[in-house]
Amino acid sequence: MELTGAEIVVRFLKDEGVKYVFGYPGGAVLHIYDALYKQQDVEHILVRHEQGATHAADGYARATGKPGVALVTSGPGATNAVTGIATAYMDSIPLVVLTGQVPTHLIGNDAFQEVDSVGITRPCVKHNFLVKDVRDLAMILKKAFYIATTGRPGPVVVDIPKDVTAAKADYKYPKQIALRSYRPVTKGHIGQIKRALKLMMAAERPMIYTGGGVILGGGSGSLTELTRLLGFPITNTLMGLGAYPGTDKQFLGMLGMHGTYEANMAMHHCDVLIAIGARFDDRVTGNVEKFCSKAKIIHIDIDPSSISKNVRVDIPIVGNVDNVLKEMLRIIKEKNLKPRREALKAWWAQIEEWRATDCLKYQQSDEVIKPQYVLEQLYKVTRGNAFVTSDVGQHQMWAAQFYKFDKPHRWINSGGLGTMGFGLPAAMGAQFAHPRSTVVCVTGEGSIQMCIQELSTCLQYGLPIKIVNLNNRYLGMVRQWQEFFYQGRYAMSYMDALPDFVRLAESYGHVGMRIEKPAEVVPALKEAMKMKDRLVFMDFITDQTENVYPMIPAGAGLNEMILV
């Protein structure tokens, strides 16, 4: 059937099973918007800034495991989307971003609203395409979804010139796809898996360290089964929270710069480290020279370039995490392999000693609200069942420390790029994905202002997001570093001239609450959660000088933590 390029885009999205497109119109994409207008299968969500479109698509992807889709116009539309694209890239989130482009005959002419979108996004996408001929459009879109969602996922940009959206071509949904230059590995090497198992069964002080790859690779179930079967301690990275039940006894909490004492000490002292879908990020390893110096390291990852990039590993296994873990389980059961129970007992005794330091304890107060208390109570009031998005800073770390995630896809934050402004639009994506679930955005008065305009989108679509604003009148993490490392010279970290968030929320048509006393925290949270169909903006006025502990200073080893 012959369709215009614009119709092909919309028809393809429908055939690909895309439900929501987050976007913002403009000159170069008007044909596509016209095609969207004429149908009902694909719902377009109008954001208020293109950064919000990419973060919302990203939040949708993280909450579902399906690809998120954004549509923006050329020039500033594309450049505004870049932060969201880079955010998704750093966290390996499957995203397809369609950018409008000026007509092909004007490309390179410095035309109105022209930028080299393919050039600008190249370093922060898994791949990108410029469509030059409408006859290639459907196949390129198919490739984009295929590349974005397979292997190590990531964002893919498809730049579509306006004349291509007007031109006509025959359309058939491309069902099959083969790329000679892209064949992601799935199964792990069996010999390597057996070598790894041998090492694991001989381990006296084993430790499992898992990252976002387990969630992206759908390996949460097999990870949980394997960990319980072996009785090994386990820690998750910031990106990996929820892959293993956060309330389980074998779980030692998050590791890294603001991880728990027990997780970091167990990392430092283990003799066999099993790294799964994690990339040895600098916030996790601390000083790489001192990282797990006593351990043999097994690393399971779908991306060969993640292996031995920062830390040399002994047994690399390239493959889909879930496949590899299932294979391990099969072999363990078939050969009746047993870990060293006696040695493990001693190891757990040591770990319990570390755990007993209770490193997340904080001084409760009757006068001023402690941010940790808010999150602790949020966890209780929502019974650990909420989808929690966060922005970036102290509140993000406290949320990761105090909200225990038992399921994957529930904890949604910008781990790699650390993008302030991510939380609210990501919560929109999560709420569209799970309309009946509680979605909470944990944020701060700094971060929330970076995408505050999306409150308007939330009203338009009736998104009942619960915003927990930890308002300490400081860019808290900046302030903390300035206190620790710059002798208290608080350069530009004080947030002066803040808006009245209650009235701000109200003027956007939402419910606003200000909470100033510790005793008001729980009643406020309960009241907010009761408002099932309203967005509630809770402005918690918190302790201005609270710091995130424990902390590993940059350049130190995992055993060199600062406790409270």
């Binding site: 393919v118 370093p123 031995s308 990039k309 040399r312």
Partner: protein, 163 residues
Amino acid sequence: MRHIISILLENEAGALSRVAGLFSARGYNIESLTVAPTEDPSLSRMTVVTRGSDEIIEQITKQLNKLIDVVKLQDLTEGAHIEREMLLIKVKAVDGAREELMRLTDIFRGSIIDVTGQTFTIELTGTSEKLDAFIEAVDDKLILETVRSGVTGIARGERALRL
């Protein structure tokens, strides 16, 4: 260590900038880079000369392999191989220097490909080292212009980089 990496990549707009961008973004160095289409017009062959420790070279090859446009690659320096680079050099050739330059060109098995009353243009092919040696041997004051193609190379024997 110096490595010569041969890459087969999709002959598409932007493929070159993906490779070049990767090297600059990750701080790898490029000593030389050549690229041209192959007998299969859908493929280009690129040769990159780079330096780095074993760990860095391992990362470079992994990161290159990750690029969607890269179809296949080979580190030529891992096995026996032949490398060639071409030099065109324009020199001032007057009086006694003409004789001397002709002799030098012969010794290096180069050829003089353009002549004027005042200049020679010499073509020379070989390893980068050989071209360096030739330039070294020519009196600095005589050199008007040099241009080098960058290194290309191929594995010795049966080993071949193909689909």
